[in-house]
């Protein structure tokens, strides 16, 4: 009887050790850097414009702990980010998702820049059209650096 009990206890301990070691393999706790890598891409849903990785509030600490928990449960980065979006809305993302009307946020600056380029191009064309009075030429062509020195001197004289 005693022998049986001893074997049972030994088996139990062995199985516990085995389960324990198996668990330990699966649940290496995520490092702070792994947590921050995700938190950095999220914005605190409460404070304005504060990335989650540097927000000192208690709420944000809990959110970072939540990221840690989800990571230890094997969630991927995308899943965790999506979880936060589902919970708190798109504002937790560092930039708006590329969908629906949010596309406008990305398109408008590019469109305006193109308009600006077009205006610049037109301005070049307009400004190159000769004016009614064409200024007369004053200097004959000369090479550098004497020409350069002449200009510097001329300018300094002018400013004296």
């Amino acid at each position: 009887m005693k022998k049986k009990l001893a074997v049972l206890i030994l088996l139990l301990i062995a199985s516990l050790v085995w389960v324990g070691s198996a668990n330990a393999q699966d649940t290496t706790p995520p490092t702070d850097d792994e947590v921050n890598a995700i938190a950095k891409q999220l914005f605190c849903p409460v404070c304005e414009n504060t990335p989650l990785d540097v927000c000192p509030t208690e709420a944000c600490k809990q959110w970072r702990d939540l990221i840690r928990l989800k990571l230890s449960e094997g969630w991927t980065e995308e899943q965790i980010k999506q979880y936060f979006v589902d919970q708190y809305g798109a504002r937790v993302l560092a930039e708006p998702p590329r969908q629906g009307w949010y596309w406008l946020i990305y398109i408008v600056p590019v469109a305006l820049l193109l308009v600006g380029l077009y205006i610049l191009f037109r301005a070049y064309q307009t400004m190159r059209a000769p004016l009614a009075e064409q200024p007369a030429e004053t200097h004959a062509p000369t090479g550098l650096p004497d020409e350069y020195l002449r200009r510097i001197e001329e300018e300094l004289k002018k400013r004296n």
Binding site: P56, E95, Y148
Partner: protein, 701 residues
């Protein structure tokens, strides 16, 4: 009693500004100079009046009269006197008063100048300045009175300007104290610098409007306000840099700039102001871009008010906060009215603002300056849209979005890189003008070729060091393509700029027998604008190197350490040695760690003391321990938010390569601006006709 006195003075100043507006208008339309003079004197009077009002408030802050709501909100007994004084701009109503005060200072300074030659501008400059002062004073008087007092009524304590029925004055025992984050030298100086920059831009705007109204199409208004624009720009730049330094020192996130809307609010007028600073040169030298300069200064003024609006109206936290705030809509209406009026005036004068010169090539100075302006405008659009699109989103969908650093960096990064490159090439075009017998007869493609060749001829020598830098970077194993592009551009521009200095000084050295240093000194002294400008460019390049370093090569790590344990980053080892906690005289509770830093060979480098302070009101402040060298900063934070004990403490360590070049560059930048803005005798402008014929090949255009 003093509060009533202060409010009374504010009211008188407001009425004086209103009188000044009326008298200027009446004087102009009735052609009675004495009314214009009276308007000028009235505007001069606003400065002593607002000085008196501000000094009254400062006195109340210093004696700690907690009957005054503003004093209660921003000071406490334990604050040192200098902080009590600077608390003037530590809250909404005080900072609005401070704004008006500085504005009246600048308006006074400008009206004290000699007006003989520009008398027709006077009523309009007074009008614009007085309207701006009156608007800001109206905010103080109607919505945000800094002299508002607390009153005890049957319902409880309430703040009010005038005594409610059956109320007696109520004085709190202790004030709430200034936000700890603002008790930093950087934050003490940063707002006045920004405000000085903001208000100084009102002056060129006022002259521009005066020029539009009077129909003077020449560049007189630009010449008159050149130094004002530079002063405004200097202060705004200083304000931005100090803000960045403050963030780096006290916000504890390892950076200097987070693309926060409040930062962008101050950055936007700087962008248009910088574009303006460049494009006015083209108007002065070539009589071109007149309309564009008007647009730029109108935009700058609107952005100055818009920036104040963004930070003061609560619109950033939510559109609803804006709707509830009383000053938000007032700002909105003011910006709308001034913008529409300015644009209407510009349209009215559109035809008279025609260019006097002609552009010869895509590589001419005016073309490159226009490109520079486009890049600045591009960055402005990105910033403006980034700030307002979350507000639009909230209005349309009811849901706020965050437009954070990735958006700005991706969009503005390439434009900044191009600006750095252009900064090197555009000045060369000054020498790139080819002297041709008859430009009109030239084939335009041939002309482009000649211009491009002229620039290329000047470019090849400075390009060699830039190429060497690129090779060096590749050998050093840097593979980040953006960093390679950015640093090569920076190297090229630096090399061109230094070569320009050297070439000019060398030419003088040979010709005049001066030694190189004397030659440099004389050059800079006699053409302050150009060589000051080049010095500013060198400063910007240094800053760009710092920015590229920290933006692209920053690394970080975080770990909880037991005493004796260490953390490694970028070849450094940081060992946690000990922890101490103690109170200070000013009511802080300090938790301070001692860490040792070792290099990769295990050599001891230094000890750092990262700490966090908890103020009496429970607000924490994280102060990094930083080891600074020209190569990098090792920035160690003791992060209070993860729980600190004497045995185990969490540390966050940032490695910020090259970041000190940013601060170094800022000094060079300011030095350059001082060279460019240093007063020199005002020269008579050439008559328009003379400029037209002479200016095309003006040396150094």
């Amino acid at each position: 009693m003093l509060a009533d006195f202060g409010f009374g003075i504010l009211l008188i100043a407001f009425l004086t500004a209103l009188y000044s507006i009326g008298a200027a208008l009446y004087g102009h339309f009735s052609r009675r100079q004495k009314w214009v003079e009276s308007a000028r004197l009235a505007m001069l009077l606003t400065f002593p009046l607002l000085t008196l009002a501000s000094l009254t408030l400062i006195y109340l802050l210093v004696i700690g009269d907690f009957n005054i709501r503003f004093v209660y909100e921003v000071t406490s007994r334990d604050m040192p006197t200098y902080l009590k004084i600077t608390a003037l701009w530590g809250g909404q109503s005080g900072s609005l008063l401070f704004w008006s005060w500085l504005m009246s200072l600048f308006a006074t300074a400008v009206t004290l100048r000699k007006w003989e030659r520009d008398r027709e501008f006077l009523p309009w400059v007074i009008l614009v300045s007085s309207i701006t002062i009156a608007f800001f004073l109206s905010l103080n008087i109607f919505f945000e009175n800094p002299f508002q007092r607390f009153w005890q009524t049957f319902q409880g304590v309430e703040p009010a300007t005038f005594r409610p029925a059956n109320a007696i004055p109520f004085t709190a025992e202790e004030g709430r104290g200034l936000n700890p984050l603002l008790r930093h030298p950087g934050m003490v100086i940063h707002p006045p610098m920004l405000y000085l920059g903001f208000v100084a831009y009102v002056i060129p705007y006022a002259f521009a409007i005066a020029a539009l109204i009077t129909g003077r199409a020449d560049d007189r208004w630009i010449r008159l306000t050149r130094r004002w624009s530079l002063t405004a720009w200097l202060f705004l730049s200083l304000g931005l840099v100090l803000g960045g330094r403050w963030a780096y020192d006290v916000l504890g996130w390892g950076g200097y700039w987070a693309w926060d809307p409040v930062e962008i609010a101050a950055f936007m007028p700087w962008l248009t102001g910088t574009a303006f600073l460049h494009s006015v040169m083209i108007q002065e030298k070539r009589g071109m871009l007149k309309r564009w300069n008007m647009i730029l200064i109108i935009l700058t003024y609107s952005l100055v008010v818009f920036g104040t609006f963004l930070t003061r109206s609560g619109v950033l936290s939510s559109v609803h906060a804006f709707a509830q705030s009383e000053i938000g809509p007032a700002f909105f209406i003011f910006i709308g009215i001034t913008l529409v009026t300015s644009v209407a005036l510009l349209i009215y004068r559109w035809d008279s603002l025609q260019a006097e010169g002609q552009m010869h090539s895509m590589f001419s100075r005016e073309a490159l300056f226009l490109l520079n302006n486009l890049l600045f405008m591009g960055i402005l659009v990105i910033c403006f849209w980034g700030v307002i699109s979350p507000l639009i989103s909230e209005l349309i969908t009811g849901q706020k979005v965050t437009v954070g650093p990735p958006y700005y960096e991706r969009a503005a990064g390439p434009l900044f890189a191009l600006l750095v490159l252009l900064m090197g090439i555009a000045p060369l075009s000054a020498w790139g003008h080819i002297t041709l017998k008859n430009l009109a007869a030239q084939n335009s493609l041939e002309l482009e070729k000649r211009y491009a060749l002229a620039i290329a001829r000047l470019l090849w020598k400075p390009a060699i060091p830039a190429l060497l830098v690129l090779i060096g970077l590749l050998i050093a194993g840097i593979t980040n393509i953006y960093a390679l592009i950015g640093l090569t551009f920076a190297a090229l521009t630096a090399s061109i700029t230094i070569y320009e200095f050297w070439r000019a000084a060398r030419a003088r050295e040979r010709a005049q027998g001066e030694n190189l240093l004397t030659a440099l000194w004389r050059l800079a002294g006699r053409n302050r604008r150009r060589y000051g400008g080049y010095t500013i460019h060198l400063g910007v390049i240094l800053m760009a190197i710092g920015i590229i370093g920290i933006e692209m090569f920053q690394s970080e790590t975080q770990k909880s350490l037991a005493v004796g344990e260490n953390i490694q980053l970028a070849g450094y080892t940081v060992r946690y040695d000990s922890l101490a906690q103690f109170p200070t005289n000013d009511g802080r509770w300090v938790t301070r760690a001692v860490v040792s830093v070792f290099d990769k060979n295990g050599q001891f480098l230094t000890e750092l003391y990262p700490r966090y302070d908890v103020y009496a009101d429970g607000q924490p402040m994280t102060i990094p321990g930083v080891r600074s060298t020209l190569a990098d900063d090792l920035y160690v934070l003791l992060i209070n938010w993860e729980g600190v004990t004497a045995q185990v403490a969490p540390f966050k360590v940032y490695h910020n390569p090259l970041v000190n070049w940013l601060w170094l560059g800022a000094f060079v930048f300011i030095f350059g601006t001082l060279i460019a803005a240093w007063p020199e005798e005002e020269r008579e402008p050439l008559p328009t006709q003379a400029r037209k014929t002479k200016a095309i090949y003006q040396p150094g255009d």
